[in-house]
Symmetry: C2
Amino acid sequence: MALIVQKYGGTSVGSIERIRNVAERVAKFKALGHQVVAVVSAMSGETNRLIDLAKQIQKEPDPRELDVLLSTGEQVTIALLAMALKDLGLRAKSYTGGQVRILTDDAHTKARILAIDEENLRRDLDSGHVVVVAGFQGVDAAGNITTLGRGGSDTTGVALAAALKADECQIYTDVDGVYTTDPRIVPEARRLKTITFEEMLEMASLGSKVLQIRSVEFAGKYKVKLRVLSSFEDEGEGTLITFEEENMEQPVISGIAFNRDEAKLTIVGVPDRPGIAAHILGPIAEANIDVDMIVQNVGVDGTTDFSFTVHRNELKKAMDVLSMVKTAIGARDVLGDDKIAKVSIVGVGMRTHAGIASKMFKALADENINIQMISTSEIKISVVVDDKYMELAVRALHQAFGLDQPASA
Amino acid sequence: MALIVQKYGGTSVGSIERIRNVAERVAKFKALGHQVVAVVSAMSGETNRLIDLAKQIQKEPDPRELDVLLSTGEQVTIALLAMALKDLGLRAKSYTGGQVRILTDDAHTKARILAIDEENLRRDLDSGHVVVVAGFQGVDAAGNITTLGRGGSDTTGVALAAALKADECQIYTDVDGVYTTDPRIVPEARRLKTITFEEMLEMASLGSKVLQIRSVEFAGKYKVKLRVLSSFEDEGEGTLITFEEENMEQPVISGIAFNRDEAKLTIVGVPDRPGIAAHILGPIAEANIDVDMIVQNVGVDGTTDFSFTVHRNELKKAMDVLSMVKTAIGARDVLGDDKIAKVSIVGVGMRTHAGIASKMFKALADENINIQMISTSEIKISVVVDDKYMELAVRALHQAFGLDQPASA
């Protein structure tokens, strides 16, 4: 007998029929003798409907009241799922975040979980109930309703799994796991049976949006066994997210991530002296612009070029800031380019394997793809290339690292 | 400075525009220096939408989970109204039933209020907030969400007014007060400036549906000053519901109530001996059929006729029961009639005025309306007449008792 936390997202509970399907899946796990906690999101579309109501009243809705409003979305789903479970003859009981007592800080609309009182849930589980918990919500110490922000239901699932010391936290979504890359770009993309937390973090932040990033961090911190599964398929083991030590024989590269969300800025002919990077990025930070990749070339003839990427929406704002910086530091020019794409290879195996970077660069060179920026971390290498080569680059790298081949045991 | 509890029903908060109107009305009271607690229902149509969702899953929805589901309706409204108040520059804070702590028993879908913790509300009021409370809902001692049943928001308003010792509880609805009778039947019907609690109870239970009956009982018990007003008119003082001792010069008759909800059963030729009424009504009670009026004629030649009324929907069931009873007690026949109407005159003044009944009967006789049954209480006289004479009877009585004349001061 295992204790399993299952999290179902908005599309998985998006209609009465789908809520019934979820109830049937839960019933199967109960029939196998497991204890089940089901964490659910609002029915798809509901959160947007509520936000729209709020915005008709206040352009910037009051955060405390917005949380009161939005938390009703999950409350509807828990009641309906509990009814569907009872309709199948199971014992079931719903809990709002406040009823569990998922204690959070008071940062309305983006609260963080501080503690979970698992006592009532445990008692219900031990007496044979399926426990249905509203994701995405909690209460602060003063009893105000809080929400964890978009995608927060994943975090609720993982946090409950940690508090209950569950054997597994299953995240049901509309894909059947984590893939080596996006199958829409590379038809040969394979589902990964396992991926490490570190890789998952890199994949998620790089654009393979399967799991909310905070939930992955949370799972890593509390060593929760996390599995991504499809709620629309009856079979399939999904992708298990593991700790590195559990899985010594990692493939070198697990996946290829990519995005077109960024724009590149280059400030040319910067006097090459200490503190120059701070002079450039200080005003950018003051303007609340997030920076992703940062590259500074080696200086020749006393000057250097300095490049970084920002979100595409903020290119114009960043250009305005840099044109002031240019004058102040005596640089030659400022260039902006939003026709770029970032492509990354991710894998914990690269820590122990040499030659990964050169293999990556050769694969791109073989396709005549010019690399504009390079950035590396322990378990990933990212390059910026011309926007129009993105799909080609992803396919080339997917093949070069053998990701289309079945993993050898 | 007064403390006023204002209750707004579903149609009063039925759209974003109407919620804004409510906020503006509350703002006016604040501007006059009053403290305001606003109790709100779910937006009109929302409760039915939620019940419909539930019934798609369970034909008889689980009561605990139905309460979790339905309570979201008011929760949406409190958040939106609090936002609308803030948008007008007021301080405002919303409370669910559980957050106030409106403690109820655990009778899901028809819970009764046991206690209200008014401490937090009082603190917010004293610091200048408008307090917005979800009607219709509470929590039981174990923290389960409960609802008070349809119309329960009126009860929430009155209960909060009692707990906070408010100066007045204003019930805003889509009519501008309590009328001497239904203006659709008698165009001359007048709005009553005052009505006593006892009369209100008789009027409400007899079909003039303005206030939920339990809220009136509650107001009477805790001496809450209750006023019915229109939320769609800016002026108007509505109808104040008073205690009899406050208003010694009551008119003899305050209003005419009526309904077509009942059917009449008569068991003919019943042996006239002690205990016969119990023999007839015992099996009816066992079949869970509610009985309203009961009339037993004086017996002649050793037998009597026994009549009573039930809800129209239960006529067939009651006939089936009586046909068995007939044989058992040796009665002659059982007659059923659902073409009846009940018309009542209500007024605390009749306690001290003789001749009211005969005046009523004469007014009906003048219109050739035959009276089939008569039933009296301290402050009302009800008659059963042929269905088709109902409107005529109401108009005749309205005129006979001078209700179309302005009340003399």
